[in-house]
């Protein structure tokens, strides 16, 4: 059967490994898939969902239905409620994401300076990373109140550890030949940090950003879920209390769309950095 996956002409496509074996790392980004294929799984799920709930009020109560979700979306969008709540969640998530990622990257990269400090910090970072963020939420809300800052702090705590670990890993993964070269030319430690460690770790920081997008949204959402007066988490909790499954699903889908948009932004940033660094050429 002829494959629907189209590839660019690429020399490695004809390598002994062959295209699509998964062993050819350079070929992955070169695959081009017909745009409609991206929508296919979604269309299949919506059609299945529609027919499963069609004519059954019990099923519609439990699972809602595509039609009800669209109606709820139109209602929430036209009243401005969806935009307002989305912007609040987005604000909390982005602020926590920016704070957590920059702080984590700064800490992670700085740990390169001292192996002793890095070793001592390791169990603390692991411990912090293993705490379920949900368990911290009541404490954070007590400290920072039910307003914006408690959600930002939860998003911050959700993202900071990933940024520390990824950045530190990037800093210690610098190619030894660059370090040898800098040692030969008599570069100071701070020059090695500035000219070698930071730029070569940048791709690890971008990876941390990719992972942190979802985590920041989760942190903000948990804060809103526990105690809030606005935001998508608040909207979902309130609607689920009223068994309004359509509104719950509108909230869930909106969160998904926000996560996808933010991920696309980070991926665009990644592409920009990679092309600037010419690592993909």
């Amino acid at each position: 059967m002829k494959s629907h996956i189209h590839t660019h002409a690429h020399p490695r496509t004809h390598s002994p490994c062959g295209a699509g074996t998964g062993y050819d790392s350079a070929s992955d980004s070169d695959y081009r898939i017909a745009p409609w294929l991206y929508l296919l799984p979604l269309v299949v799920v919506v059609i299945a969902w529609h027919f499963y709930t069609l004519g059954s009020s019990d099923r519609q109560f439990i699972f809602s239905s595509p039609e009800k979700v669209v109606q709820a979306f139109v209602r929430l969008a036209s009243s401005g409620e969806l935009v307002k709540n989305s912007l609040i969640t987005l604000e909390e998530a982005i602020a926590g994401f920016a704070l957590g990622t920059t702080t984590g990257a700064a800490i992670g990269l700085s740990l390169w300076y001292s192996r002793a400090v890095a070793r001592v910090s390791r169990p603390y970072i692991s411990a912090l990373g293993s705490i379920p963020i949900f368990s911290l939420a009541p404490m954070i809300i007590t400290w920072f109140g039910i307003g914006l800052w408690s959600k930002i702090m939860l998003a911050f705590l959700s993202t900071v550890v990933v940024a520390i670990v990824q950045s530190y890993q990037g800093a210690v993964s610098v190619e030894p030949r660059y370090l040898r070269f800098m040692a030969v030319v008599g570069a100071s430690r701070s020059q090695v940090f500035r000219y070698i460690v930071v730029p070569s770790s940048l791709i690890w920081v971008v990876n941390a950003m990719k992972l942190n997008i979802g985590l920041a949204l989760l942190g903000a959402f948990i804060g809103e879920f526990i105690s809030a007066e606005a935001g998508l988490g608040y909207m979902i909790v309130k609607a689920s209390g009223l068994y309004d499954m359509a509104t719950v699903l509108v909230g869930v889908f909106t969160l998904m769309v926000i996560a996808l948009i933010l991920s696309a932004c980070v991926e665009a940033l990644e592409r920009r950095i990679l092309s600037r660094m010419s690592w993909k050429s």
Partner: protein
């Protein structure tokens, strides 16, 4: 007699291997390097050639013996180290890579020297705005050599810099480098596996054996003053030197 740029005396180094004792890598090596001289180091794999360069570069501390630069014991001389794989930073353009020396020293770029090096190595100024990944292997190695030269080194350490290049690029680069080393009066230590290259490039060839010791020192005298590497290859004495080195290496490999 010309004052040597580099004087290595009874240099020893052993890698620490914990309870199992130390593994000797370099054993009682002595030699001198004069300005403008090219000394090639040949030996079987794992005989300590790169370790010797690392010791001279200050990347390793000798177990015993001494390294003098211009007859003074200094911890660091102005050394340019050119590795088998270039050290061009992929996130910097060629220009920016060549300016690294100036960035580190907070000085302005020596444009005259840069232009001269580009001419010597037959590189167009248009490559300055490219990234290293946009260059061919030969171009990268040339830029790598210029990058090291921009630090204005007194001594150049070359660890098989031409081994990954195709035959014609290698010949051309050898020739370019040879004339540069001669004209700039820089001392060059060249580690190579290639007997041809050692005879064609070197004023002397140091042969190391498996124990990291210096087995023999052969002065290459082709009797025609300063001849280029490609002409040296066609010289009547070339095969005599080749056979002498080859038989010695054969013995060393058999041991």
């Amino acid at each position: 007699m010309t004052e040597p740029l580099l004087l290595v005396q009874d240099l020893c180094f052993a890698y620490r291997q914990g309870a199992g004792g130390d593994a000797p890598a370099v054993g009682a090596i002595s030699f001198a390097l004069a300005p403008g001289e090219i000394v090639c180091i040949l030996g079987p794999s794992g005989c300590g050639k790169t370790t010797l360069l690392n010791l001279i570069a200050g990347l390793l501390q000798p177990t015993s013996g001494s390294i003098h630069f211009r007859l003074e014991e200094r911890t660091r001389a102005r050394i340019g180290y050119i590795f088998q794989q270039d050290v061009l930073l992929p996130w910097r353009t060629v220009r920016s890579n060549l300016m690294l020396a100036n960035d580190l020293r907070k000085s302005t770029i020596d444009q005259k020297a840069l232009d001269q090096y580009l001419r010597t190595f037959h590189l167009e100024t248009s490559i300055l705005d490219r990234y290293p990944s946009q260059l061919s292997g030969g171009m990268r190695q040339r830029v790598g050599i210029i990058q090291a030269l921009m630090f204005d080194p007194e001594i150049l350490l070359l660890d098989e810099p031409f081994s990954a290049l195709d035959f014609y690029t290698k010949l051309r680069l050898e020739s370019e480098f040879h004339s540069l080393a001669r004209s700039s009066r820089k001392g060059t230590l060249l580690v190579t596996h290639d007997i041809d290259e050692a005879i064609a490039m070197g004023d002397r060839v140091l042969l190391m054996d498996r124990g990291g010791k210096m087995a023999k020192e052969i002065a290459i005298d082709l009797g025609e003053g300063d001849i280029s590497p490609d002409k040296a290859r066609g010289h009547e004495s070339f095969s005599g030197y080749y056979n002498e080195i080859f038989s010695h290496l054969e013995e060393a490999m058999a041991l």
